[in-house]
Structures are given as structure tokens and as C-alpha cells.
Symmetry: none
Subunit: 226 residues, 2 copies
Amino acid sequence: MNHSILIIDDDTDILKVLKANLELHGFGVITAESWMTGRDILAALNQDLLLLDVMLPDGDGFDICRTIRKERPLLPIIMLTAKDKISDKIIGLDGGADDYVVKPFETLELIARIKACLRRSKPTDEELTAVGDLTIDKKRRIVSIKTREIGLTPKEYELLCFLAAHRGEVAHREDIKKLLWKEHKIYSWSRVIDVHIRHLRQKIEADPSEPYFIITIPGVGYRFRE
Amino acid sequence: MNHSILIIDDDTDILKVLKANLELHGFGVITAESWMTGRDILAALNQDLLLLDVMLPDGDGFDICRTIRKERPLLPIIMLTAKDKISDKIIGLDGGADDYVVKPFETLELIARIKACLRRSKPTDEELTAVGDLTIDKKRRIVSIKTREIGLTPKEYELLCFLAAHRGEVAHREDIKKLLWKEHKIYSWSRVIDVHIRHLRQKIEADPSEPYFIITIPGVGYRFRE
DNA sequence: ATCTCAATGTCATCCTGGTGTCATTACGTA
DNA sequence: TACGTAATGACACCAGGATGACATTGAGAT
């Protein structure tokens, strides 16, 4: 379980030290020195946790925290700051941060807090899948693109989950068949799978005729975008 | 939303101050000066959060924390201590505490952390649930919309509580079945659940044919509005 | 005991939309 | 070109949920 962490801080020294230390402890670390780039990384990659400095050249940490919360309510956020005034701490926690660490801090303590945070927020892999703009929340059985919720039928949902669970790999037609119809009721083997794939594409693809998520592998099956 | 907090600390001065301050902020507070009494209170009452001192006359805070975790994995625990050595902090967090506060601390910060902890903790054992205009007061077993009280039958009430406790998540038909009829009673598996859902909807929904609170997930079950 | 009423469970029916089939078209490759 | 496979559109059917009516149960009251 290799967790990935995004650190946004404008202090390059701290970035270096933190990155080295966290990587030493088995985390995947990506750094950004401004909110602008950090935001892009957040949108592009599916990080497990965010270390956010309060003072950034292009934005206030508290505002940023609230902004992120609206889009990614589940993402664990730890605020990182030089200020140690109580009022700031309160704002940070009430603004939706999961924890708050004051610089200068002991790396070991930070790591302990990171682990605690990650432990609390389980639904990262098993229960919540995100590929690009697409999010599958298994607990709520909600699929959404950006923030728009998509209504899927049982078969469509199962199919999507299967594909997404094996994203990157080819899903053989036979495997899909086995998944969707365990007690095979299908006799004349028509093209039911294709039809469900089509329905899915119509719902999740921006342009169903030029699929981005669900790629056809002729003669084999389908592959879900990694 | 009146949360109840149990404080276990052998320093009576701190107990007094904390109790006064927390009560001022709307919490219900019970105090204990030893692990022995604290444990009894914990078993007897259903507290929402535990403030636990590390140094107690009759036990080590870390051990206690782990012990409690085994029995009550969901109970939010905040460790309270005069020691500020990093190693202690790590042990505390890894031992299952949700947060860690070093004495002397600012009351406001502590309260912020308490709130943050409670916000994170599962709404499973909430005494009072409110979703939109709907309020469920578990202590009094009263359900009301706006201020109008709604009379519910036992089954309807249980069902509503279950759905509301897991609001946002899907309640699988099987889970509902297990909840309402612990393992037996029903033979011909007809559509009893649907019927109770309908009754509930007729009572709590403004327009039962266009449900706002109880959403149907075809093929799976139901989901309560978040 | 019986009566009454509310709570609960069963059943028949309706109806929507999920699912599967097929004919046709489009695409890619030998 | 022809051939095989996938995409597409149209459509028929049927499963599962909603609904209404009714049967059964059980707790109080008389």
C-alpha cells in the first residue's frame, strides 16, 4: 500500500527535506511550490494526502483548503505552517483540514500524523476509485464526472467497476461475461456486452464515438484508461 | 447537537477548568479521576468522545488507549499530556488515538480539535440527526419535520434510523433485512421492505412519489439523502 | 373471554425502464 | 475487394419497484 502525497510549499528547503524523509518511509511524494501548479497536479493525479502550507505566494492556505474540500471532500489534508497562533489553528481545523502541524516540526511526528490521517480515511482504493474526471464511490454507489452525478443501471455499474478495478489491463470478453452473468442466462450469444459498453460510453464519455475511458481491443475485449 | 465528553485526568484543577470551558461551549461533560472509574462510566454511558490523560495513577494512557480501541474502535480519543516528547506523540497516534494535545494547551485549540474529531467520527452513534427539515431525536425517539412531529411505528423508526445513520451510503436490501428481522421470521420473501419504505415516504416525504430523502437504488437497495 | 385498532406481512396489479435481440452500418485488415 | 468484428439504432420483453387492497397478528381496553 504505497501512499502518494502531494506537498505544496514555497520553501524549497523544506520541500527537499520532506520529500527525502517521506520517500524514505515509503511514500510517493510529489511537490509543488505554488497553489497554481499544486492545483493542476491535484486535478491530474489521484494523490492520497495533501500537505498544505498556509502561506503561499499565490493564495491563502485556509481559502485553498476550503476550495479543495468542495471538490474533494474525502482527501485528507494536513496544514503546515510557521504561524503558531491559536486562532490560525482553529481556522485551519474548522476550514476542513484534518490536522495541523506547526513549523518547525519533527519529521517523525509529522509522519505519525500522516499515518493517523491515512488510517482514518480508508476509502482511498477499495471504496473510491478516480480516473481523471471520473469518480466511483462504491459506498454511495455514485458515479460522477467532475461533480456531475451519473445515473447507472446495475449492469452498467457492475461493468464499470470491473473495468475500473482492472484499469490498464485488458478485460477479456469472457471475463466480462462471467462477471455480469454468473449463472449464464444468455443462450444465443449476441452482442449484449457491446450494447452495455455503448450505454456506458454514452453516459461517461465526453464524445462516445471517440472513447477516452473505455478503449476497444478488437478480438479481445476492452481496456479501461489508466 | 449536544455531544457528551468524558475526561479522565487525575489533576482536579485541570478537570474543573476543562469541564467549565467545555460546558460553556455546549458539551456535556463527565469527569473521572482514575481509569477505574473512567472505565465504568465508559461502559455505562454512551459518550461521544474521550479526553484521556497519559499519566494516570492506575494505568498508562497508551495501554488504556489500545484497550479501549479493541472494544470501541469508533470512539474518538484525544490524548492529553504534559510530556511533549516526540516519541510519546508517535506512540499515542499509532496506538489509536485520534489526536494528541500537549499541556499546557489553549482551551480554544483543544475545542477546535475536539470539534474536528467529532466531525470526522462516524455519525453512527449520534444522538440527534438532522437532514434538511428532518430531525431524529434518538434520546426522545421523536422524529419531526420542521417543527411538526411525525408518529412512526417501531419498524418504520428502526428503518429510518438505519438509513439516516448511514446517510449518503447505500443500504443494501440484505442489510435492511438483517436489521429489521434478525435472521428469521420471513418466509416467502415478498416485498415487505418496499412496503415499509412506502409508509415511511408517505410520512416524511413532501411528495412521496418524488422522494427527496429516501432514494431508490434499483437492484441494490436505498440511500438516504446526505 | 371478546372487541378494537394499529402494526405488520402478503398478494395482485400496474408500470417504468433495464435488459437482450436483431438488422444495419461502419471500421479495420488481409 | 471481401471478411470479420464492433458500433449503432430500433424494438420487444420482462424484472423489479411502486402501489392499493387486504389478511394476520398482537397489545390494550372492556
